[in-house]
């Protein structure tokens, strides 16, 4: 690891650590202004630790997923949700809400309950996984994943899922539509499901190891297909790994926190600014950057209350991250696939 990469990882880790401390100490302000930092009682500390755990896992998963997809698609604008995962999750969650309303006492309601999918989280995850499978099938040409076909398939499938979600929402009773919208805005659960958190942590750890070991292959794969294959990269296998790994990470984050589109897009670029373009260093950096972004966003929203409770996390990440990203975009030169630093 070069000195620049080491300094960059240290910088991002410090940013993450500061965010975690801030989130643990910051007191939620209700109808009041200003920051209040205090050591919480044990019960409240447990809730804050739970929120930090959720944000670390979902942010890290999104950061790595974004990096892998940008490498897979050779496209700096790629994000976990470009491939329709968010739209698929949204459709899954909305369909279950619609089914619960329409067939609550019927066979379908019983079936959903028996299968354990009468829940937005599980249905959302299933929706994103189904879309992942569909986009994977559509994004292949001549027996292998084709980046351009994959992006176009993802965009079209995303649009179809979006339209079906709107249709399903229009069929929901007005009283239920709010629940659907809240799910779409994302959440940072203070009491994450232990099983889900463990599964996400294991998946994240596994993918960090796999992606780190593939770091040099990811660098070589940033050349053309012919060049990458002639350097010795098995693009066929690498692309399946990237696609399945990135999709599983994004689905896990959807299961934990709902759709949070912005983090997976910004975290890899933020990492490139401080680390450079080599993937072996970018893998841990993107995980740390994604986790830091989400922890900070969750900390900041504790002190913003417009009278309707805390600001939804998805709104805040987009409101903060969007302008920051545009600022960076204007101050640096974007080269195909990355940043010129």
């Amino acid at each position: 690891m070069s000195r620049r990469q080491f300094t960059g990882v240290l910088l991002l880790s410090s940013f993450l650590l500061a965010g975690v401390v801030f989130r643990l100490l910051i007191a939620r302000q209700v109808n009041a202004h200003g920051l209040r930092l205090e050591w919480p009682t044990t019960d409240i500390l447990q809730l804050r630790v739970g929120a930090v755990e959720s944000a670390l896992l979902a942010g890290g998963a999104l950061g790595l997923s974004g990096l892998l997809l940008q490498a897979l698609l050779r496209n700096p604008l790629a994000s976990p949700f470009l491939l329709g995962l968010s739209a698929g999750a949204g459709l899954g969650a909305t369909l279950v809400m619609l089914s619960a309303t329409a067939f609550n006492a019927g066979v379908v309601g019983w079936l959903f309950g028996a299968l354990g999918i009468a829940d937005g989280v599980v249905a959302g995850t299933l929706g994103s996984l189904v879309v992942l499978a569909v986009v994977y099938a559509l994004g292949r040409r001549d027996g292998r994943i084709d980046p351009l076909t994959l992006v176009l398939s993802g965009t079209v499938v995303s649009s179809i899922c979006g339209a079906l979600t709107l249709l399903a929402q229009s069929l929901l009773p007005p009283s239920s539509r709010g629940d659907s919208w809240m799910w779409f805005m994302g959440q940072i659960p203070e009491v994450p499901s232990p099983g889900l958190a463990l599964l996400t942590a294991m998946l994240l750890l596994g993918m960090v190891i796999v992606a780190w070991r593939s770091g040099r292959a990811l660098d070589a794969a940033s050349t053309s297909d012919d060049e990458a294959e002639s350097l010795g990269v098995s693009l066929k296998h690498l692309r399946v790994m990237l696609f399945v790994g990135a999709g599983a990470l994004a689905s896990a984050s959807v299961a934990l926190c709902g759709p949070l589109a912005f983090v997976g897009f910004v975290a890899p670029h933020m990492s490139r600014l401080v680390i450079g373009a080599q993937h072996r260093a970018l893998v841990p950096a993107s995980v740390v950057a994604g986790a830091a972004l989400l922890v900070w966003a969750d900390a900041i929203r504790q002190v913003i209350d417009f009278g309707a409770g805390r600001l939804p996390i998805g709104v805040l990440t987009a409101l903060i991250g969007g302008p920051v990203f545009l600022g960076v975009l204007r101050s640096r030169r974007l080269v195909p696939g990355g940043w010129s630093c």
Partner: protein
């Protein structure tokens, strides 16, 4: 030994190569010439194992390239593409180091990177971003990367490596490629500069419309009558090699 045996290749039903049979021995520099669309790039990609032939077989050192994994192929075959592409912001030296992907990155390998930079005149550009280089400099980077990957006795395949180079750099690259051939490697180069092909190649393979029209020493293959037939323009062979007649008239 590179053996191309009755190879045909069709792109989605359109014929690109038909029943090409030819062979090249290590220690030679072979120039592949022909008109645009004659099948040169397809033949090079087949020789590098990047395409599988529709019919026939391509063998290197007796092994059918279709049976080798990319990693196995990369240990003995290196390839320079016609169009450089790099979608991340790497420096010149980082992009050249990609040639070590299939090798151990030890001290000797790192020395190969330094040597290749010097050989191709890139030592002063090592820390510059790849995407900020001129087309000719990028081309030399790709050649340097292939040289880093190239092992003694291996096959070096280059698709129009001279296309963006000025005469001084073309001459430097030609010298480097000749040296690799003399070192025991087989160098297969697609090129349009017939004068250069005549000067540096041990053999010339002439393709027309996907078929091999002739192969052999440059003086036997690059005859003025054959070139006139293939390229539909007049050529003259003088003391300085082959020239297009329009240019020869002007020189006179």
């Amino acid at each position: 030994m590179l053996t191309i045996d009755a190879v045909s290749f069709h792109y989605r039903g359109v014929r690109a190569l038909e029943a090409v049979t030819v062979a090249g021995a290590p220690g030679k520099l072979i120039a592949l010439v022909g008109r645009n669309g004659s099948g040169k790039s397809t033949l090079l990609r087949l020789a590098a194992g990047l395409l599988s032939s529709t019919r026939g077989s391509v063998r290197w050192s007796g092994l059918d390239l279709r049976t080798l994994s990319p990693q196995q192929r990369a240990r003995s075959i290196s390839y320079v593409s016609q169009r450089p592409q790099l979608s991340i912001a790497l420096s010149v030296v980082e992009s050249i180091r990609l040639g070590l992907f299939s090798a151990q990155s030890d001290g000797l390998a790192r020395q190969r990177v330094t040597d290749s930079c010097v050989e191709l005149g890139l030592d002063g550009l090592a820390d510059r971003p790849f995407h900020e280089l001129s087309a000719g400099e990028q081309q030399r980077c790709l050649i340097a990367r292939a040289l880093v990957q190239h092992r003694s006795g291996g096959l070096l395949v280059l698709d129009e490596p001279f296309s963006n180079l000025d005469p001084a750099e073309a001459s430097r690259v030609a010298r480097v490629l000749r040296a690799r051939a003399l070192g025991g490697g087989l160098v297969l180069v697609a090129m349009h500069d017939l004068t250069l092909a005549d000067q540096i190649a041990d053999q010339v393979w002439l393709l027309e419309r996907g078929a091999l029209l002739a192969s052999g020493p440059p003086s036997q293959v690059l005859t003025t009558s054959r070139l006139c037939e293939v390229f539909s323009c007049e050529f003259a062979r003088g003391p300085h090699g082959i020239t297009l007649c329009a240019l020869a008239d002007r020189a006179r």
